[in-house]
Symmetry: C2
Subunit: 297 residues, 2 copies
């Protein structure tokens, strides 16, 4: 049934204006072209919709039935198209990313500053989540891309490394281990160790890294987030192994950082996105800026 939207528009406008000539003018068509459109619609339907002479136009019974339906169809289409374009525009005016907390404050501030300076009207929405949640968010297209750990990846996403860093010891300045320049993992055996839960990507990496050495630290405290670990260390409740980027970078009144060796456990943080994902230009640009600023050479 080869009906076209322009046919419906011609019919609706003609029925409303009661004039082929006037309707044609309104929709920027010549009168013969409009007449042909109406004739084509009537031929396709197999029934006249309008009764007309050179001086008078009226709807047929079928035309009267069809007119509100045609109007509704055209209205619904216009609404749909406008809605879709609004969604698209809203999406293209916003960057959505998911990020593990330890990386958010390390990677993003500089790049966000530069990005917002270049694109003042583009908003950046950061979903702060664990490594697995970041991955799910990307897979489910809830966000454009993510910043997460190597271990938490998936065959259906592409990983682009940004930074590789070691886990280090975090303890209070007045802790006995703070007197050593370098701490070995086995040195921790005699101290209360604060760890993160099994669901954490960091925990997975640590477990895998330590498996080779035969040493298994005895966890005394288990928390959900690394940032809570740091809080407990500061409170003097124990020591923790934390990624370097989550530690204070300079001298700290309470917290000391020491290299953890034998083994040195490394983690890689990078960008994950779905291959072939068509990001908005803004998201593509932000993604590029992150790579440019942070990519490991």
């Amino acid at each position: 049934m080869n009906v076209e939207l322009d046919d419906l528009k011609a019919f609706v406008k003609t029925a409303e204006m009661r004039s082929f000539r006037a309707a044609a003018e309104t929709i920027h068509l010549s009168q013969p072209a409009l007449t042909r459109r109406i004739q084509k619609l009537e031929a396709t339907l197999g029934v006249p919709l309008l009764e007309r002479t050179t001086r008078r136009i009226e709807l047929t019974a079928v035309g009267r039935d069809f007119l509100p339906r045609a109007r509704r169809l055209l209205d619904d289409l216009e609404t749909s198209l406008l809605t879709v374009q609004e969604i698209a525009q809203r999406r293209s005016g916003q960057v959505n990313i998911a990020c593990i907390p330890t990386a958010a404050y390390y990677f993003l501030p500089d790049v966000i500053s530069a990005f917002s300076e270049a694109y003042p009207s583009i908003r950046v929405r950061i979903v702060d989540a664990g490594a697995n949640e970041v991955l799910q968010g990307v897979l489910n297209r809830e966000v454009d891309f993510g910043i997460t750990l190597t271990g938490a990846d998936d065959p259906d996403v592409a990983f682009e490394p940004l930074v590789e860093e070691p886990f280090m010891l975090a303890c209070r300045n007045d802790h006995p281990l703070a007197e050593q320049e370098v701490v070995q993992w086995e040195d921790l055996a005699e101290h209360r160790f604060i760890t993160v839960g099994r669901a954490s990507g960091n925990r997975l990496i640590l477990d895998l890294g330590l498996a080779k050495s035969g040493f298994r630290p005895r966890w005394f405290y288990e928390v959900q987030h690394l940032s809570t670990s740091l809080g407990l260390v500061e409170a003097g409740l124990g020591v923790a192994a934390l990624p370097k980027m989550s530690l204070p970078s300079g001298p700290h009144p309470l917290i000391a950082s020491r290299p953890l060796v034998d083994p040195v456990v490394m983690r890689t943080v990078g960008l994950v996105r779905r291959p072939g994902a068509r990001l908005s230009p803004a998201s593509e640009r932000f993604h590029e800026m992150l790579l440019t600023r942070w990519r490991t050479p």
Copy 2:
């Protein structure tokens, strides 16, 4: 916004089948032609709807939003087109006319018989109504055309006369007036006269016809329909002036008919239709058959 229905169909089918090639085959298009349609839709909306590689097709976020809307639009259009065609087909399979009662049984039986023999599947629907209702029915397109009186016409309808006939006296066989071969209107003055209401077309014609003679019958009974008049005459309650076609055509055990003169009041019954009205072929044919069978030479 130059979106076309074929664009929507291409998009919906491709999203459902997850294959350009397969979708193209289904809607009888080549794969490049379908690809171009999808590209045109995406260009018009200014946003991609599908992410695709040569081996994998998925909806974008905007595409996922748009797909149910596009489906609904196409479904609504198809429903509308089928409904319109069904109405048109039903109308073209049926003749609808309105007819004053006195004429229905006089004009229609023969023509209906001939018509139904020629067109066995076409149904004929007769709306039995007063002269004014017949006219309204035609003007409001509730019926295709009507059979009514001259007096009940309108500048917007065309009248084609079928039969011109006189009003005659109807009385019981044993009534004194039955003894006269011809009755004059003034003879009715001494007898109870049964008339029809002022809303009746017949009443209007009678009033106008008698106005010239100066004689005004004194109504003793007033009824709504002529057929009721005949019933009261038969019951011996009085006499009535009725159109010839509504009287028994041969000898009747109870009812006598006599010419009414001085004046002779005539009425014309004919077809009314809207000029330029596009009737279905069946209605046109029936209309023609009525004219052929009954038209006054």
